[in-house]
Structure formats: C-alpha cells, structure tokens
C-alpha cells in the first residue's frame, strides 16, 4: 500500500458562529500533486491551517504522514506557504533565508540559495522592492529549504500576472520532478490546475464533494448530449449529477459504475473544468433552493 501524505477522517472545525468544515474525509497518497478546489469559504484554508497545527480540529482528526499536528508545532516533513506570503518587507532576501534557517530544525541553505539563483534574485535586495512573482519565488525557496515531503500552497498564484504564474509553476514542477515530494495546491481557478494536478479534493460548503485521482474521476464520469427526452430517461445504475435542458437538447453529467451503453446519447469523458463546474453548479442550485 502506498504511503498516505495527508489524511482527514470525519474532520470538523467549528468557528465561533458556524462550522468551517464538517465530516470531511479524504486521503492524499504520497507523490501526488493535488488540487484543493472549492468556492471561497468552502474550507480550503481551514484544512491547511489544521494540517499545520495552527488550528485545532473540533471533531475527529487530521494526520500528516501519520502524525497529528500538535504541540510540537508543524509536523515533520510539512512546509506551508500561506496566501499572505510570510515575508518581512524590511528584510533582505538573504536575511529572509537566515530566518528560515533559524526557525527550522532541518534546513538546506545551499539548496535554498540555488533556488534563488535560478530565479535570478539578488540576495541583497529588499523583500519590499521585489515584484509579486519574485516574492513568491523567495517564499517558495524558504518553504523548500526545509526539504519538505509535503508542500502545501494556499492560492500561490492568486496575485501574479500570467508570466509570473508560469515561472512559479515551472520552477515548482521542476522541484517536484527532482524530489518526488507531495504537493497540495489550493485554488479557485481550475484552468491553472488542469495540466499540473493529478489528484483532486473538491470542497463545497465545508464538505468533500468529490475526491480521487483525476484520471479515475474523469473516467468514472460521462458527459452525455442528446435530444431532450419526452419522459424521464432511465440511466440504470448510473447517478445523474447534473442535467441541463434547452428546448431541444439535454446535457447530462453521469457518474458511472459500469461501462455506459446508451445508444441515444453522445457520450464523452468530461474535462476537469467541466466536471468541477458541474458539481459546483449543482451545489449552488441546492443552496438557492434551500434559502427559498
């Protein structure tokens, strides 16, 4: 059996007024590059906070390589890069690395320096004077300097221009190729993730709506297009996730349990964006329905 890098079991986190996360169960196997996807407020940052030990669960558990994040601080082998890139504007790049060295038990100075050299960032430059893309590369070097087995990144591309996004992803993927580390990457922009991720955790309203290896998930779903049926169509053992009708045509997303044999329909494998958007739309529709 493969090692599990991150595992949540019936995990719940209650904030003062409401549950941020409830009954959340998923496993992230080692070596995957996983997308943590969901609308704002779905619980993405909460999961990362719980994994680092900055937040404590209200219900059940989360484990990083079998360890519960707790009093000893962040679990061994975990590095986390938060949305608000934890850098001190008044520091120089070299001072920022020194802080990384002081604050971490395991630290590889040469490796961190080589990452900055790859990014062509001057160690004497002040953090405050760097561009958004360069700041992300520095924060990434500080996170990678710990030589993590699991790297979590909360919306790492959110404030970057397209060129900087590409630069950051290329350098990140190169380090993954080199080290084989596991990555959990949160984003609400699915297009950023399609080429990069091979595993998905889709959070909706504090719950896991869909999770697994992306190839498997895509193969389990079928996007059907056909003439709008007169009566309720029978899809046998398969589950209808979403159905949209126009006057003549119907589009159905089906979760299948066996090979699909539906001669009246054009059947295609959805892409990741279609799959995720369908699940999000269904959840959105239910929410509006509930509030009526």
């Amino acid at each position: 059996m493969s090692t599990i890098a991150l595992e949540a079991r019936a995990l719940g986190k209650k904030y003062r007024r409401a549950w941020g996360l409830r009954d959340c169960t998923f496993q992230l196997p080692e070596g995957r590059i996983a997308a943590l996807v969901g609308p704002n407020g779905a619980g993405k940052s909460t999961i990362m906070g719980l994994a680092t030990g900055l937040l404590r669960p209200t219900e059940e558990s989360i484990e990083v390589f079998g360890q519960r994040p707790g009093d000893q601080g962040s679990p061994d082998g975990l590095a986390f890069l938060g949305q608000d890139k934890p850098l001190y504007k008044g520091f120089t790049v070299a001072e920022m690395l020194r802080a990384g060295r002081e604050l971490n038990a395991s630290w590889e100075q040469e490796y961190a320096e080589s990452l900055l050299a790859d990014a062509r960032i001057d160690p004497a430059a002040k953090i405050g004077a760097l561009s958004g893309g360069q700041r992300t590369r520095v924060a990434l070097a500080v996170a990678l300097g710990r030589r993590p087995r699991l790297l979590m990144l909360d919306e790492p591309l959110a404030d970057l221009d397209p060129l900087a996004r590409e630069d950051v992803m290329r350098s990140l993927m190169a380090e993954v190729a080199e080290t084989g580390m596991t990555v959990l990457l949160s984003s609400h922009v699915i297009a950023d993730l399609e080429e990069v991720c091979d595993h998905l955790v889709l959070l909706i309203g504090g719950k896991v709506a869909l999770t697994g290896d992306i190839d498997d998930l895509l193969a389990e779903h079928r996007l059907l297009i056909g003439a709008r049926p007169e009566s309720e169509p029978d899809f046998g053992p398969h589950t209808v996730i979403q159905r949209r009708d126009t006057q003549r045509q119907a589009t159905v997303l089906l979760r299948t349990t066996a090979p699909v044999n539906l001669p009246d329909w054009d059947s295609d494998e959805p892409n990741l964006e279609e799959l995720v958007l369908s699940y999000l739309r269904v959840a959105g529709a239910q929410e509006t329905g509930d509030s009526k």
């Binding site: 993927m173 190169a174 190729a177 080429e195 990069v196 091979d198």
Partner: protein
C-alpha cells in the same frame, strides 16, 4: 533534443500530446535511435506540467518499443519511425504535391481537401 509544446486548448490530454510529438519527431527523423529524450525535470521546467505526466508518456513510448530507459542516464530512442517515402524528395510526397496542385487548380479550399483526404483515409485504414 526535442522540445515539447503543450496546447492547452486542444482537448487532447497532455500525456497524449507528448506521445504524439515524440512519434512525430521519430517519423520526421528529428529523433533517431540513440538520441536522449529530455528528462522529466527538463520538460516540466519548460512547460509547467505535472512530471508524472511526462513519466506516463515515456512509459507508453517504452511499451511501444520506441524508447528505453537507461537507469541514471535517461530515456533513449530505440527505434526510428522514419520511412524513406516521408522524405521531402520521396516519390509518394512528389505525387501528393502534384495532386494537391491539381486540387488547388480545381478551386478546392484547404478544408475541402482535408475532408476529401480524411474520407479516403477512412476507407483504407
């Protein structure tokens, strides 16, 4: 060494795009037996795709007997797909060039020609 180009809007999976591009390069003779393919790290450092996707594509090419991994050294081309007929002065290409000339003279658009070629290919292959 070949460079991969990923078309994110093509609808073809990234893994298949890599497989197709290697086969294409083998056909055109851009890659020959003994040539090394770029490492997963080199590919992802240029394209920002998942390194597992590169490894999956290389495994598929290995399964087809086109490349072989040499531990510690990289992945190398074993077999070429180049055929003399594909060369720019090959007889088949010369005939085809003449035929396309006739199609242009007959006033066919590129899409007409593509549809015609595809229909004939579908009959035979």
């Amino acid at each position: 060494m070949i460079e991969f180009r990923i078309d994110r809007r093509s609808g073809v999976s990234t893994y298949l795009q890599l497989v197709h591009q290697v086969r294409h390069a083998l056909r055109l003779g851009l890659l020959a037996p003994g040539d090394r393919l770029p490492t997963a790290k080199e590919v992802v450092a240029a394209t920002a795709i998942n390194p597992n996707t590169v490894l999956k594509a290389y495994r598929e090419l290995e399964r087809e007997g086109l490349v072989e991994p040499r531990p510690g050294l990289g992945t190398f081309v074993r077999r070429s797909l180049a055929q003399p007929e594909l060369a720019s002065d090959g007889p088949l290409r010369t005939t085809l060039t003449e035929w396309v000339g006739q199609a242009v003279a007959a006033g066919l658009e590129r899409e007409d020609v593509e549809a015609l070629v595809k229909a004939v290919l579908d009959e035979r292959y």
